[in-house]
């Protein structure tokens, strides 16, 4: 193996994803669709975990950033249209979506990260809703009816390759010397500040990085579903992602990935109980908070404060 440590896993993940995508024509289309959903959920949950889990800043507007990335990359793909090498531009459109989402994250983050706790949660929820309302009223991106006929570029390889990159970047970031700042901010902001951590800068960087990957996930989502509309990015979607992070245990990457898989598969399994699906889901949130606030897969091996 030419790489060591985390890089090896990244390499393995990408190779496996690309290898698996060669066999996708033989897969059942329904199962393949669900598996790609899982990959997108992993990217969303891991990126939110950086903001909510590692850095302890509570954001309820992740779906807004996803919408920004999704809309821009879908719009670019539709503009390019059907040309011989159109698919080659897919990574570029994803990147553009991610960068715009990161930029919006910067615009949202700089003023709102001065707030704490539930106020920050409400403001990010508000920004997410504002993004949705703007999308709903902009004719260039289809207004309320959304964008249709987006080419289906999001393959198994792309989705899981990018999921591996997301996990790799975020874990490496948190484990770096610099990234210890995130955890310091999470544990005690005042103590971190007095030890020379630039807390505002740290929080903004976490927010912008999280927004970038949410934008990428949005692009994948658009090129997977081939249709996006503002209602798909309402605050329930943000809550979905938040629940994944909480279920997995804030700041625990493996747990969050497991929760993303579980919560994407659960609605598919509960398809027969469609009427009760959302009631069960809401009850799950309440019971989880009452009984296991540290996450479903967190056991009391070492005590960790949950913020």
């Amino acid at each position: 193996m030419p790489f060591s440590g985390a890089k090896r896993w990244l390499f393995l993940g990408i190779v496996l994803a690309i290898a698996a995508s060669y066999f996708t024509p033989h897969f059942n289309r329904y199962y393949l669709g669900v598996v790609i959903d899982v990959g997108i959920a992993i990217i969303l949950a891991t990126s939110l975990n950086l903001i909510n889990g590692h850095t302890g800043q509570f954001s309820l507007g992740h779906a807004g950033f996803m919408a920004v990335g999704g809309y821009l990359s879908a719009w670019i793909s539709l503009k390019i249209g059907v040309t011989p090498h159109a698919a080659w531009f897919f990574p570029l459109s994803l990147l553009a979506g991610g960068l715009l989402a990161a930029f919006v994250g910067l615009l949202v983050g700089v003023p709102s990260l001065r707030l704490r706790g539930d106020y920050l949660a409400i403001v990010t929820l508000g920004f997410g809703e504002i993004i949705r309302v703007i999308a709903q009223n902009t004719d260039a991106i289809g207004a309320a009816s959304g964008l249709k006929g987006i080419p289906k570029y999001a393959s198994l390889g792309w989705t899981f390759g990018l999921a591996a990159v997301t996990i790799y970047v975020i874990t490496s970031l948190v484990n770096s010397t610099y990234g210890r700042g995130f955890i310091a901010v999470h544990d005690d902001e005042i103590a971190a500040e007095s030890n020379g951590v630039d807390t505002t800068r740290t929080k903004v960087i976490a927010f912008v990085t999280g927004a970038f990957f949410a934008g990428i996930a949005g692009g994948l989502y658009a090129h997977h579903k081939q249709f996006i509309s503002p209602t798909g990015f309402d605050w329930l979607k943000s809550i979905d992602i938040v629940v994944m992070v909480i279920l997995g245990g804030m700041g625990r990457t493996a747990g969050v990935v497991a929760a993303a898989i579980l919560l994407t598969l659960l609605p598919e399994l509960l398809r027969d109980f469609a009427e009760y699906r959302m009631i069960i889901y809401a009850l799950l949130i309440i019971l989880l908070m009452l009984l296991r606030p540290g996450g479903l897969f967190t056991f009391n091996l070492k005590k960790r404060r949950v913020a």
């Binding site: 509570f58 003023p111 709102s112 001065r114 707030l115 706790g117 539930d118 106020y119 949660a121 409400i122 403001v123 508000g126 920004f127 809703e129 504002i130 309302v133 703007i134 709903q136 009223n137 005042i190 809550i239 938040v242 909480i246 009427e275 009760y276 959302m278 009631i279 889901y281 809401a282 009850l283 949130i285 309440i286 908070m289 009452l290 606030p293 949950v306 913020a307």
Partner: protein, 302 residues
């Protein structure tokens, strides 16, 4: 003249927001957390009235005084019980947990009520017409048209604000509420039954939500399980705008927001952005004056 007309319409709408905001503010004042389920209690209040009205009309005759008072009182009572039950089951076990845990639980409770009520076996998600509880009259004042509802709602709000102010400032239980708000453990050491006080506050707030829900439904085209979400959101913004935890502030914020929204609705390009405007105001307030218009800024001590 159009300006005056719009102001009157805005006042009628704002007074309802103010009434809902009062409930948010009461609970926040004592527990320091945002009760997301408040807007759903409002919806339950409207549904309680929906089912009570025909029965009371049979007994006392339609649009008679005992019917109206009975509907309002019984719905308020039902919602007070629901509010206390929610507090007992979902929030009390989390009393000393981090704020965000409680916030997410509140979101969970809100979703639970909404999805349960949308189930076809409960209320179903269809919109139903709300019974005419009080006959509506239109008064013509020059070119102005004033509906009796636009007078009734602000009057009810003013009376309830005074009542709340009286309870909080002048009664023994109000003193206890302020003590709990100031310092829970110290209040408990002084012999204040903290749990009972919090329960009472929830009951009071939920009763206000029920009354607001009925008044809102009298104007709205009909009632459905998600009807509370929009006014609840605006009322929350109103509570923060006025300074959350502050009773007159909630009313001021509610009326300001109602008037602003009515004016924004009158401008063609802006009417689609009404939700965004409410959130925009909220964000601006939180960024520049987080304590709200009438709130006091607190200094964080290390």
């Amino acid at each position: 003249m159009d300006f005056l007309q719009q102001s009157i319409n805005g006042l009628g709408l704002g007074a309802i927001y103010a009434l809902i905001a009062l409930g948010y503010t009461m609970v926040y004042g004592v527990l320091r957390f945002i009760n997301f389920a408040h807007s759903d209690v409002l919806m339950l209040g409207a549904f309680a009235a929906f089912y009570l009205a025909p029965r009371l009309e049979q007994a006392f005759g339609p649009q008679s005084v005992p019917t109206v008072i009975g509907v309002f009182l019984l719905s308020a009572l039902i919602c007070a019980c629901i509010g206390m039950t929610i507090e007992r089951l979902a929030y009390r076990p989390l009393r000393n947990r981090p704020k965000l845990t409680v916030l997410i639980t509140a979101i969970g409770v809100s979703l639970f009520i909404e999805f349960t009520c949308q189930n076809p076996r409960v209320f179903d998600s269809a919109t139903r017409p709300f019974p005419k509880l009080i006959a509506e009259h239109q008064f013509q004042l020059g070119t102005l048209v004033v509906s009796s509802n636009d007078i009734l709602v602000p009057v009810v709000t003013a009376v309830l604000l005074l009542a709340m102010w009286f309870i909080v400032q002048k009664t023994k239980i109000g003193t206890a509420m302020r003590a709990v708000s100031f310092n829970q453990s110290a209040a408990s050491l002084m012999g204040v039954p903290v749990n009972r006080i919090i329960s009472f506050t929830f009951g009071l707030g939920s009763a206000l939500a029920a009354i607001a829900g009925i008044l809102y439904s009298m104007k709205a085209p009909g009632i459905e399980p998600l009807m509370g979400v929009q006014p609840g959101l605006r009322a929350f913004v109103a509570a923060v705008l006025g300074g959350i935890g502050n009773l007159p502030g909630a009313v001021l914020g509610g009326i300001l927001l109602g008037v602003l929204e009515t004016f924004a609705g009158g401008i063609p390009g802006l009417s689609n952005y009404r939700d965004a405007i409410a959130f925009g105001i909220l964000i601006l307030i939180l960024l520049f004056k987080p304590a709200g218009l009438l709130g006091r800024a607190t200094v964080e001590k290390v």
